[in-house]
Symmetry: C2
Subunit: 358 residues, 2 copies
């Protein structure tokens, strides 16, 4: 068995409830496969601001640097959303840890579980067979460019900026992945309007030459947002910038039936960082009804990508599949028109997955 | 009858084919209702670059200033999309005319014609009853902020920037419209990350106080891109910035069955500018299969918004509805599973609408 140190950062809102189940799944895998996973816990986001005044306390960052992988929950709180003038904000913690750990590539696999074909707002015949792997650039773009608010507070700006090396390294990662899949890559930008996108497109065109076996397509973000819904099967690997990736992958959650199903892996120089793509969902936090599957599937990504434990990773995915096949659903993925679904809360659902792991 | 001067700018690609039908509908309306519409033609985009080296020749701009309304087609060409290093680009023409004419508010109504319920990739029960009016800010944001490419060409940036007055005036327009509708306004931004969005949200919150009878909601762009597909009926009026509006309205085309159905009105200080939201679609240009309905529906918007001719505008919309009810379809909106559809090209479809106008 392997020995791994895992930092768990539940964060805000439903992050607390769902991450508990991700961790339990890790513990079960450790037991079943004789690995030694040791856990530490860290705070980040609104809870960290409340406790320390800092959305990413130095202590959490240190623990992150010393761990082999990080399991994260969610971040954000209505208080800050309602008051845009607040200076210290939960999301700064997430952005900072991504930057500090050099997590420049965010992988978001969008794959529909057959059992959820009916849970989506999109027609089953459009969805069936969809399988997209998004590479979202995660440490550049308008997220990290200089932010300015004039003294009179009447003008505000953010710099959308990309450097050649940033585009190059994420493009290579995406092309490498495309090679192991259906050998199609779609790069999304807005090169008809934005200079940063024109650089993006130039660099992807250059990197493309190193991968003549992969078919490259360039698409404008507006068109991509449309095509994703119109014909999701046309996509294999999609690579795009931080902002466009944020938008497209949330939209793509409808392809997977629900946001509650989607996991992501952020990788870069060292420690991998694994999180559901859903947010803190304060409207349902504390009610025990959040879907724990995205956190559990984040664990599957961790086992595969950070620890190279492919069998264990598949085991987790199979347990999720089995749970869905048995008809168990959280509210967000329940089909109102089916009688043989059993709708349950976070803990009951997590427990079913655990049962199916054994 | 009224007297109006209309500038027709067909632009690039299918813009030529579809705009011809928008103009014919205007001529038919003039005849039926005893108005005097005089037409001039202007060039813009790739065709203008080829003819004069300038994507928006001074002559076109002069004609635009002297007209009561402008009917535009589409812009763009694969040549520029494939070569991001080209300095003179078709889209600059469109951006410049929007800026020069002060067209800061872009209205994009998204309403499903019952006859197209089956043409969408989204389930009919999700779509039925959807009716959204987008207000996209059109002369600010990252579209018009300073663009920089470093001398070594390795770094590129665009400034995402908003001024208070820009947000205020579009917010007021959107709230005014919400009052005449279902009294719900959703403002879309990314205030958890972007300073420009935090200004946006602050200003909308202020303007909201003047409209206590309208229910205001603030939503992050990633969530909005998801909700739009998951539950389009929850939206009434949506107001957002230039970039987010570009993305959301293209995505929303799936709610209307097809991009080929969507018209837009750009308004501001004086002359109104009317265009389909679809692009130049060079892959089908010249084949005579483009859908002319978005151009025809742009004419309906012109009659209503610029000329105040509500009866005539409704007449055009009714003619489009009748054409669809008779089973006539262009390729993009045809339902493969229905036998009683007659699939036709641009000209045959346009002719059917004309017949239904009389
Ligand atoms: C919480 C927010 C800062 C974050 C982002 O925009 O990156 C989230 O939406 C995500 O996608 O991980
Ligand atoms: C052609 C392009 C510059 C334009 C835009 O992005 O505004 C188009 O996509 C639109 O939506 O009108």
């Amino acid at each position: 068995g392997v020995e791994k140190k895992i930092l768990v950062i539940p964060g805000d809102g439903i992050g607390q409830e769902v991450t508990a189940w991700g961790q339990k799944v890790l513990m079960a895998i450790a037991k079943n496969y004789h690995h030694t996973f040791t856990f530490e816990e860290g705070i980040m986001g609104h809870v960290a601001i409340e406790a320390t005044g800092d959305p990413l306390p130095e202590e959490t960052l240190q623990k992150a640097r010393n761990s082999d992988a990080i399991l994260f929950g969610a971040i954000g709180h209505a208080k800050y959303d309602n008051d845009p003038t607040l200076k210290v904000r939960p999301e700064q913690g997430l952005l900072k840890i991504r930057k500090e750990l050099g997590l420049y590539a965010n992988l978001r696999p969008i794959k529909l579980f057959d059992e959820l074909l009916e849970a989506s707002s999109i027609k089953p015949e459009i969805l069936r067979g969809s399988d997209i792997l998004f590479f979202r650039e995660l440490t550049g773009d308008v997220y990290f460019g200089e932010k300015i608010r004039t003294a009179d507070r009447n003008t505000a700006s953010d710099l959308m900026i990309y450097h050649r090396y940033e585009v190059e390294r994420i493009a290579r990662k995406a092309y490498d992945a495309a090679r192991t899949r259906r050998k199609k890559l779609c790069s999304v930008d807005k090169a008809n309007v934005l200079e940063a996108s024109r650089l993006w497109r130039e660099v992807v065109q250059e990197v493309a030459k190193e991968y003549p076996d992969v078919e490259t397509e360039h698409m404008f973000i507006d068109n991509a947002a449309m095509q994703l819904i119109k014909d999701p099967k046309r996509f294999d690997v999609v690579v795009t910038g931080n902002l466009f990736g944020d938008i497209l992958t949330d939209e793509a959650s409808q392809i997977a039936g629900s946001m509650g199903m989607l996991a992501s892996a952020s990788i870069g120089d060292s420690t991998g960082f694994f999180e559901p793509i859903h947010g803190s969902a304060h409207d349902i936090a504390g009610k025990g009804i959040a879907n724990p599957l995205a956190s559990i599937l984040s664990v599957a990504l961790m086992l595969d990508i950070s620890f190279g434990l492919k069998t264990e990773s598949q085991r987790v995915i199979k347990a999720v599949e089995a749970t869905l096949r048995q008809g168990f659903r959280t509210m967000d993925i329940a089909n109102k028109h089916t009688e043989n679904h059993c709708i349950m809360g976070t803990d009951a659902m997590g427990a079913k997955v655990l049962e199916n792991l054994n």
